[in-house]
Subunit: 547 residues, 2 copies
C-alpha cells in the first residue's frame, strides 16, 4: 500500500534557498585568483545563482547539457554548482592537474557545451584549444577589468551576470536527474565519469553532517582545501550551507603558510583536505609555535593519515577525524568521529581508533567478499575486497558500459578496489588498494601499515612502499623514503624501528632514499608512477646472480 | 538526463540497523507498566524486532496490513514501530485518550487486523470489545507472568517472540510504501488519518537533527514525554537511534515528580513534550530547588510555550527550543534553535526569539495566503493562513476524499488551519488557530497573545481565552483563568497588567475563575470543550438588556 504523503523532488537548489533564508548572515569568503579576499552572504549568492541561471538559459543551455568548470575553490565555482544543476544541466568539474590527453579526452567524452575557467587556467586552455571541439564556448570567471589578452574567444562571467533578474523559477526536476559529473583521475585506462543526481547529492549532504558531527555547527566556518574540481570537495559546497556554516575558500594558494594565514584571519573552525596539505600546515604551525585562531577540527581524507600526523594535531587540541570515500561514492562512505563508547577511553586507544577509516555513514552499506565473490564476516579481522551500496554510490560509469560492467557485481554492488576489514560495529579498516598490496609467499602485506610505521621514524619525511617482483616470494616490499633532514639511517635501523609491529617476513627488504615522491592529480602518492620509475630495479636477492 | 547513481529505497529498518552496528552501546531505557526499569541496547532491540517480524509473518500479516497499538512509551512499542513497518505493514498508533466512539471509529476505519496493547489498556479494550470487529486479534505487551485475567482472547507478546530467529531478511519495499498511520484527535467530525511512508519517515528523521541541532548528540540521552501513540513522538523513535542517542521512555507516569526522578536517575539531557508537562516538572524543580542531573535541553511543542515558562527554564540553565508541527506533517515543520546571528544578542532578545515557532526545517516549505488563496509576503508582519509543502507532509487523509479535498489547495499545498506570519528568514510566528482567533469589529485578536500576557501575572496558574458572541463587535475575548493560589484579582487588575502589550479594544471584556481547564487527548487546552461549556455565557454588555 502506498503512503499518503506528498512526493517532492529532492533538489540541490533547495539547500541554498534554505541557507539564504534561515542562515542569511552566513556565506562564502573567497581568496580569489584576482588577489582579493571576497565576501558574499548566502542571500546574495542565491541572487547571483539566479542570474547565472538566466545567463545559461540565454546561452541555450538545456536540461542534461554538460557544462565544464576549470576553477579553484571560490564563490563563482560554488555559484556554478547551484546555477548549472538548478536549471537541470550537469556541472562537470574538471581536474586541471590531469594530463593534456586526459583533459581533452574527458571534455570530449563529457560533450561539454560551455567551459567556465578561472584566470589561472587561461594558458592551460590555450594549450588545449587545438584539440578541443570547435563549438565549445568559454566563459572566464572574472570581471571586465581582469579579462586577459587571449586567443580564446571567451565571455566575461561578471559581464554576463550583470543586470540579469535575481530570481529564477527553478524547475521541479525529477530527483534522479543528473546534476554533476566528475571523472576519476584513473591510474589505468581513460578517466571514468561518475554522474551524480539531485537525489544522490541531497542525500549525501544530509547523511554526512549526521555522521561527521564534530565538524558542523551553525555559524561556524569550514574550509575545503579539498578542491571543488574534484569529487564535490567532499560535499562541503552542500553540507556547509545545509548546516548554516560559512565557507572559507582558499583559492589557488594551498601551501602551509598561506593556509595558516587565511585560517588565522578568518577563524576557520574545521578544515578538510588530504594528508600532504596538512603536513604543510603542520610545518607552519610548528614554525609559528601555535595553531590558527579558532581552529579546532581537521578532516583528513583522500589517503590515510599517518598516525604521527594525527598525534601532532591532537596534541595541539585539534580534533582529527579521517573520512574515507571515492569519487564513485559522492564521495564520503565512512567517517572517523569516535563512538560515544570511546568517550572515556585512554588517549592511546582513541588515537588508534582514529587511525582507521571510521564507521559507515547512514545510507552507505559495506560488504567484503573473497575472490569468488562470497561474503566474508564483519569481524574486524577477516580481509576481503570491499563492495559498497547506497543512494550516493554510482550504478555505473557515465557512457562507459565496459568499465561499468567491470566495476559492479551481480547484485549491483560497486567494487571499490580496496582491500578491507569491517568490524561488527561497521568500522572500516582499509588494508590497502588491492593493486598496492604486496603478495609475498601467498600472504598479503599492507603497504599502508608499513608506510605508517616507517613515517613514525624521525628521519623520514615521506615514504611509500612498493611491491617488486621476486622469484621465490612472488613479490617483496621495498621502502622509498624522503629524508626529513641530513640523516639517512640504514635499512637495518628502519627495520628495527618497525619490527615491534610486524612479523619479520613482512618488513621491507630494501630502502631507497629519494628526493621526492610523485603525486597524482588529486595529491596522493602515485604508486603507478613509482612502479614505472623503479621498473628496472632489482631485488637484493637477485643482485648476486647478476653480478 | 538521468543520473548514474544507485536507487536504494529509503527504509525505516535501516535506521535501527545502523544504530545497532555503529552505536551499539546505546539503546532504550524503559519505565515499564510492570513497574520495573528495563534496559536494552540497540543490537538486542534489532534482534527482538527481527523476532517480531517472524511473529507477524506467522500471524499472517501481509504488506499494507494495519496493525494497531495502544501503548505507552516503552521498548516494546518502539519494537512495533520497526517490526511492523519493516515487513511492509502499517503501524497504526492509537491515542487511548480518545472517546469510546472515536476509538471504535478509527480502529474500524483503519481496518486493523491486530491490536497490541499495554496491560494498562486491558480494561479500555474490554469496554470497546462489543463494538470492535469480530476478527480483530489482540496481543498484550507483557510476559507470561504478567498476563492478566481478561475476557479478551489475547496472545502474550513475550511468548510469541521467544525462540524466533533473531535475523530477518527485510524486504526492499518501494520507499513510498505506507509505514505508519496516526489519526488527528479532531476537534470537529471524525478523526482523520495521516498515512506516513518509509520515505517521509526517513527524510523527517534526517531533517530534524539537521535543524534541531541543540538536542542531538551521540551518546546523550533523550526522553520523549510526547507519546509514541501520537504523531510518532515527534519522530524521536527515529531521530534518536539515527543520531546515536539513548531513549529514556517514561512509561505511564508523566507527573512532574515521576519525570524528575527518572530524568535525575538516568541523566536525561534532552526532554521533549507539551507545555502542560513542563509546567508540572517546573513545579517539582522549584520544590527541589534544583534541576535533574544532566538536564540541559528542553523541546516544547504541541502548543505554544508561555514566555514565563521559557524564562524559568532558561534561568536554570536549560536551553529551551520550541518546535511546531502537526500530525499531518510527521510532525515537525519548524524548530526554535536560534540562528547564529543571535549568538551575542541580549538575553531579552534571545528569549523573545524563542517565543516564536522558529525557522522552517530543511525540506518543509511555508506559504501564507489571504482568503482568496493569493500568496502574501514573508515580511514578518503580514498575517495569513499557513500552507505547507514537503515530503513529510500528507497529500491527503487516509481513505477520506472529502477531508482531503478540504485540506489541500489547487497547487497541492496542505492548509494547516493556523494563522501565521513568516519572516524573510523563514521564521514562523503562529498567530492562532484560525478557529481560535477572536474576530472583533472586523479585526482579529490573537487568543495566544492574550493568554501569554495573562500567564505572566503571578496569580494565574493556567488560562484560556475564548471568543464569545457580541451583537456589535461580532466576537469579543473572555479570559478563563485557574488561580495559582488564594488570590483572585479583578478583571481591571488583569487588564492593567496586560495593557502595555495591547490596544485597549484587544483586551478581554470579562474574567472567569475556573477550577481547571479541559484538555484534549493530546494534552492541549480544548477550546472546543470550553466553547461548549460556556455556550450559555452572556457577554457583560448584554446582561443589562436581559435583566
Amino acid at each position: 500500500m502506498q503512503g499518503g504523503m506528498m512526493h517532492r523532488p529532492l533538489r540541490i537548489i533547495d539547500i541554498l534557498t534554505h541557507a539564504a533564508e534561515v542562515t542569511g548572515d552566513q556565506g562564502i569568503v573567497s581568496a580569489r585568483v584576482e588577489g582579493d579576499l571576497h565576501r558574499q552572504g548566502y542571500p546574495e549568492t542565491l541572487a547571483r545563482v539566479a542570474q547565472l541561471a538566466h545567463v545559461l538559459e540565454a546561452l541555450g543551455v538545456g536540461q542534461g547539457d554538460r557544462i565544464g568548470t576549470l576553477a579553484w575553490n571560490g564563490h563563482r565555482h560554488f555559484e556554478l554548482y547551484y546555477g548549472v544543476s538548478g536549471i537541470g544541466a550537469v556541472c562537470h568539474t574538471i581536474n586541471p592537474r590531469l594530463s593534456h590527453e586526459q583533459l581533452v579526452y574527458i571534455i570530449r567524452h563529457a560533450g561539454d557545451r560551455l567551459l567556465f575557467l578561472d584566470l589561472t587556467f587561461v594558458p592551460l586552455v590555450e594549450a588545449l584549444l587545438p584539440d578541443l571541439p570547435r563549438d565549445l564556448r568559454f566563459v572566464i570567471l572574472t570581471d571586465r577589468a581582469h579579462m586577459p589578452e587571449t586567443g580564446i574567444n571567451a565571455l566575461c562571467y561578471e559581464d554576463l551576470l550583470a543586470g540579469q533578474p535575481t530570481q529564477y523559477p527553478w524547475p521541479d526536476l525529477p530527483e534522479d536527474s543528473a546534476s554533476g559529473l566528475c571523472y576519476t583521475s584513473g591510474t589505468t585506462g581513460h578517466p571514468k565519469g561518475a554522474l551524480y543526481s539531485h537525489r544522490s547529492t541531497v542525500l549525501h549532504a544530509m547523511q554526512v553532517p549526521l555522521s561527521q558531527t564534530s565538524s558542523f555547527r551553525a555559524g561556524g566556518r569550514v574550509m575545503p582545501v579539498v578542491p571543488l574540481f574534484h569529487v564535490n570537495a567532499w560535499g562541503l559546497p552542500y553540507t556547509a550551507p545545509l548546516t548554516g556554516m560559512t565557507l572559507v575558500m582558499p583559492g589557488p594558494d594551498l601551501d602551509g603558510s598561506s593556509l595558516f594565514r587565511l585560517m588565522d584571519r578568518e577563524r576557520v573552525f574545521s578544515a578538510w583536505g588530504v594528508p600532504t596539505v596538512w603536513a604543510g600546515l603542520l610545518a607552519e604551525i610548528e614554525a609559528q609555535g601555535r595553531i590558527p585562531q579558532g581552529f579546532g577540527d581537521l578532516v583528513v581524507g583522500g589517503s590515510a593519515a599517518p598516525r604521527v600526523m594525527i598525534e601532532a594535531y591532537e596534541a595541539r587540541g585539534v580534533n582529527v577525524a579521517q573520512a574515507w570515500g571515492m569519487t564513485e561514492m559522492s564521495p564520503i562512505g565512512s567517517h572517523g568521529v569516535l563512538p560515544p563508547a570511546l568517550d572515556t577511553a585512554p588517549e592511546a586507544e582513541r588515537i588508534a581508533a582514529k587511525c582507521c577509516a571510521g564507521h559507515r555513514v547512514f545510507g552507505v552499506e559495506f560488504k567484503i567478499v573473497d575472490e569468488a565473490g562470497h561474503r566474508l564476516p564483519h569481524d574486524g579481522e577477516t580481509t576481503g575486497e570491499l563492495y559498497v551500496r547506497g543512494n550516493t554510490v554510482i550504478a555505473g560509469y557515465f557512457d562507459n558500459p565496459e568499465a561499468s560492467a567491470a566495476a559492479m557485481d551481480a547484485d549491483g554492488w560497486f567494487g571499490t578496489g580496496d582491500v578491507a576489514s569491517v568490524g561488527p560495529d561497521a568500522r572500516l579498516i582499509i588494508r590497502d588498494r588491492s593493486k598496492d598490496l604486496v603478495k609475498s609467499g601467498g600472504e598479503w602485506i599492507s603497504s599502508i601499515d608499513l608506510e605508517n610505521a616507517a613515517l613514525s621514524h624521525p628521519a623520514i619525511h615521506a615514504c611509500a612502499v612498493i611491491a617488486v617482483p621476486h622469484p621465490r616470494w612472488d613479490e617483496r616490499p621495498v621502502l622509498l623514503a624522503v629524508a626529513a633532514g641530513e640523516a639517512q639511517p640504514a635499512l637495518d635501523d628502519l627495520r628495527a624501528h618497525m619490527a615491534p609491529h610486524f612479523a619479520e617476513w613482512q618488513l621491507p627488504d630494501d630502502l631507497l632514499w629519494v628526493e621526492d615522491l610523485p603525486l597524482t592529480a588529486t595529491g596522493k602518492v602515485s604508486k603507478l608512477t613509482l612502479r614505472e620509475r623503479f621498473r628496472d630495479y632489482t631485488h637484493p636477492d637477485l643482485r648476486g646472480a647478476e653480478a
